[in-house]
């Protein structure tokens, strides 16, 4: 696919006009116009719920708009499915990768566009093609490696190679740096810039201000389904963009007052589990310890091991002085542990059950039953109390949890776990996919929980959340805790560096740091 000549660099690669899309109960896109020029890196910004995903779904043929038109290279198109979009030269890298883990890189890249020989896949040609593309665009990766074994940064490269193999002229990247270290993100942007220089266009769907300012040419901001700003990056500022996204002058990074730590509640020594080793940390009563780090560096595994959902291969975990290293999840909860998991739909709740049943879990053998017999009135009362206390918007306690919105389901989950009044609360990604009003509420609840004398271990991919809530911040990198900072010292640059594996400016492999008091 030959890239277009510089002469039509100003021409529109993709044009969306007047896109409208309504879902039951909400107008996701309202008369949205978006023009992306050739050779341009265009950032599409907005908060959760602003309409970015819907707009891209329309562009990519996954959703039909109620009104409006889509033009690619000047021609009006109507995609029936992503296959059509691909054929027209559009390519999307989704936030959760669409890769086949058990197949090789080459097989993933050429899937559904295979070089053939007599009906069989020409493996040699596939390998050659991957190598050519990798070299041309600076995306080195081994064609014969099994994709499931690759680290996240390389998996993303495979996704991009997939699109380039099909001659995509416009690439759409959805939150691409959510899973990358700052260094990997820089490398990605270098690739994107070179793609743009070749005349391709890039649409960057993101909410990360810094990257937008450093990497994009123009920015379109959505809010509540409408375009509220179309800016040229070089001529705008972080504050202006943030204000457009939220509609008000935003106090970026609200920081809460620190807690007053008391006794040690959680004591972890030399812990090892899958992909995690040599972890030492303590959490005291009345303190929030935050774990920062790019997703995939062992945070999830560590928390699961602490919660009793993953076996520990070495080390010791003590809760309130008792050794729980090999205790079951049941035993840990009985000792005083509560856990808000990352996956609220499949793990944290049973969406097919009623709200009341979901809220009862964990309490069903303690406060809601006597001698094994459940008291239905108690279950209902418990549900009503929690619904009110946490502002869960549900028609009644009897409705199915599947009818709750993501934010409300998260409130249900957090409410239930907080209600255990456990000495230790493990919480992962507490505000992912939650709207801004609810985020405030959840943060306030967590602070209140800490101030009531409990210990909280917080894992979050949002640096601002960690910096705002945590009294101490640990950084995990490649399965170990590599740095520890007091609240005052935990600024974004220092943390970013540590998250990327550097520390005190040194690129050498970090040694495990003694953390805790």
């Amino acid at each position: 696919m030959t890239p277009p000549s510089p002469a039509d660099a100003r021409a529109a690669a993709v044009e969306l006009r007047g896109i409208a899309k309504r879902f039951p109960g909400t107008l996701a896109n309202d008369a949205v116009d978006l023009t992306v020029r050739r050779g341009e890196i265009h950032a599409l910004m907005g908060e959760n719920g602003a309409g970015k995903s819907t707009l891209m779904s329309v562009l990519y043929g996954m959703v039909r708009p109620d009104a409006g038109s889509v033009r690619v290279d000047g021609r009006e198109v109507a995609f029936a499915d992503p296959g059509d979009a691909l054929a027209a030269g559009l390519g999307m890298v989704h936030q959760s990768f669409k890769l086949f883990d058990s197949l090789t890189v080459a097989e993933n890249v050429v899937y559904a566009a295979e070089p053939r020989r007599f009906g069989l896949v020409d493996r040699g040609a596939a390998r050659r093609r991957v190598r050519e593309l990798a070299e041309e665009h600076g995306l080195a990766v081994d064609p014969d490696a099994r994709v499931g074994d690759l680290p996240v940064g390389l998996r993303q490269r495979v996704e991009i190679l997939k699109l380039l193999h099909r001659g995509a002229r416009t690439l759409i990247l959805d939150e691409p740096t959510a899973v990358l270290t700052p260094t990997e993100a820089d490398a990605l942007f270098a690739v994107l810039k070179s793609l743009a220089a070749q005349g391709r266009s890039v649409i960057l769907v993101t909410h990360k201000l810094r990257e937008v300012l450093e990497g994009s040419d123009r920015v379109t901001v959505l809010r509540d389904g409408r375009v509220v700003a179309g800016l040229v990056t070089a001529e705008t500022s972080a504050a202006e963009i943030a204000a457009a996204m939220t509609g008000r002058a935003v106090e970026l990074d609200r920081v809460h007052a620190p807690g007053t730590p008391g006794d040690v509640i959680l004591d972890v020594t030399d812990l090892a589990t899958d992909g995690v080793r040599d972890v030492r940390l303590t959490v005291r009563a009345g303190e929030i310890v935050g774990i920062a780090g790019v997703a995939g560096n062992g945070q999830s595994e560590l928390v699961e091991a602490l919660a009793g959902l993953r076996p520990v291969s070495a080390g010791r975990v003590a809760l309130l002085g008792d050794d729980i290293t090999h205790a079951s999840a049941t035993e840990r909860r009985a000792k005083g542990l509560a856990y808000v998991p990352e996956d609220r739909h499949a793990v944290g709740t049973a969406t097919a059950a009623s709200v009341a049943d979901n809220l009862a879990m964990g309490h069903h053998r303690t406060s809601l039953s006597s001698r094994g017999l459940l008291a239905p009135a108690a279950v209902r009362g418990h549900a009503r109390r929690l619904i009110e206390r946490f502002g869960i918007k549900a028609a009644s306690p009897e409705v199915s949890a599947s009818s709750l919105s993501g934010g409300n389901l998260q409130k249900l989950l957090i409410g239930r776990e907080l209600a255990h009044d456990a000495s230790l609360l493990l919480v992962e990604q507490p505000t992912r996919g939650v709207d801004i009003g609810a985020v405030r509420n959840i943060h306030d609840q967590l602070i209140a929980y800490r101030d009531a004398g409990h210990a909280v271990l917080l894992v979050s991919a949002e640096l601002s959340e960690i910096r705002g809530l945590a009294d101490r911040v640990l950084v995990m990198y490649e399965g170990r805790v590599t740095a520890s900072y007091e609240k005052a010292a935990a600024d974004e640059r220092t943390l970013g560096l540590a998250m990327a594996g550097g520390g005190a400016g040194s690129p050498a492999a970090p040694s495990p740091v003694e953390v805790g008091d």
């Binding site: 959902l309 709740t349 049973a350 059950a353 094994g372 459940l374």
Partner: protein, 369 residues
């Protein structure tokens, strides 16, 4: 949410109707009159002559349906019902034949022995899953065959009735039998099974254990995360399941002809009938009773249908299976404004996704009680 509209539009109602309609088509295809045939089914099973047979059949069907429903409620499938049934019957026969205690005590012991044998064997299948990772679906099924073979061998060799050409044990001593109701074939076994159903209902709805059972069925990952010990739960549920299947076997042996006859317990295929009843009801307690009754009616009615219309009784089996096919596909009546207006309800449809996980299918929670 209007209860009547919800029930009428439920997948269960649609499936049953589909089964009846397709059955009628088969009948027409073989030249019979559907109305007469279905009439014969109902008359033959619910009339004065047939109600006894229906209740006797119900004893086995409901017992086995409960045996399958209990683990199904937590998303576990026990396909080893036949093996547990047969072992239970054999244990009861052995106890009945050799226990020196007075007859009434022997009967009680025989029932308990049957339940214990079934429970133990079913627990074995659960152990296969817990310790060896062999899926319960497969382990329970595979274990079923050796159990049947073992019981068959016992009936044909060591315990065989001397002088008889049939593969059967000696007849149980006088008095070692379940009391009957009048001159019918219905025994006290029916009461036992109904009692079991009541116990199931109570446990499911009002105990913490029942709650854990239901939540595991709806989302096993959620239950595990929240501290419900899956292995222990599976073991206990399978033990109960096997005990119920063994109970049905014991009841069978303690009823006419008061002996263990190789193959007789499994000949009528009640294990599969019980499974379909449990599936139809989504393992819900009240629903399981209703579905069992429905299928017992079909089974007994099928015989009288054959007598009066010469349509083969296997048609009722076909009907049963078709109901389950439609239910599995989760079809339902489309929204009809007229129907809604008629009942003045506002439907809030929820369609919980059934994830396709082979190891432990999330239990299809039906809409009956």
């Amino acid at each position: 949410m209007n209860h009547i509209t919800r029930t009428v539009r439920s997948p269960v109602a649609f499936s049953v109707l589909a089964g009846v309609v397709i059955g009628a088509l088969f009948l027409v295809g073989t030249g019979a009159d559907p109305v007469a045939a279905y009439g014969a089914v109902l008359g033959g099973s619910l009339g004065a002559d047939g109600i006894g047979a229906t209740l006797t059949t119900l004893t086995s069907v409901l017992g086995l349906a409960l045996a399958l429903a209990v683990p199904l409620r937590a998303g576990l499938i026990n396909l080893g019902g036949d093996g547990q049934l047969v072992l239970g019957g054999m244990a009861a026969a052995v106890t009945g034949l050799y226990c020196p205690l007075p007859a009434p005590l022997t009967v009680v012991l025989a029932l308990l022995a049957g339940m214990a044998a079934g429970a133990g064997y079913a627990a074995l299948a659960a152990l296969c899953e817990n310790r060896f990772g062999v899926p319960l679906l497969v382990s329970s099924l595979l274990l079923s065959y050796p159990a049947a073979s073992f019981a068959s061998w016992l009936a044909r060799y060591p315990l065989k009735e001397p002088g008889s050409s049939l593969p059967q044990t000696r007849q149980l001593p006088d008095g070692v039998a379940l009391p009957r109701f009048g001159s019918s074939t219905v025994t006290v076994g029916l009461l036992l099974v109904v009692l079991a159903a009541a116990a199931y209902w109570f446990t499911d709805r009002r105990t913490a254990f029942g709650y854990e059972m239901r939540m595991t069925g709806l989302s096993s990952r959620f239950a595990a995360y929240a501290g419900v010990e899956r292995g222990g739960l599976a073991l206990r549920l399978m033990a109960v399941s096997g005990a119920l299947a063994g109970l049905v076997g014991a009841i069978g042996v303690l009823s006419f002809p008061y002996r263990f006859l190789d193959g007789s317990l499994t000949a009528s295929g009640y294990t599969w009938t019980g499974l379909t009843a449990a599936l139809l009801a989504g393992a819900a307690p009240v629903g399981t009773v209703l579905a069992s009754f429905f299928f017992a009616v079909l089974q007994v009615g099928g015989l009288s249908m054959e007598r009066t219309t010469e349509v083969p009784r296997e048609l009722t089996q076909v009907l049963q299976a078709i109901v389950i096919v439609f239910l599995a596909a989760r079809l339902r009546f489309p929204r009809s404004p007229g129907l809604t207006r008629l009942f003045r309800g506002r439907d809030t449809e929820q369609t919980p996704q059934t994830p396709q996980s082979p190891q432990s299918p999330e239990s299809p929670q039906g809409e009956l009680a």
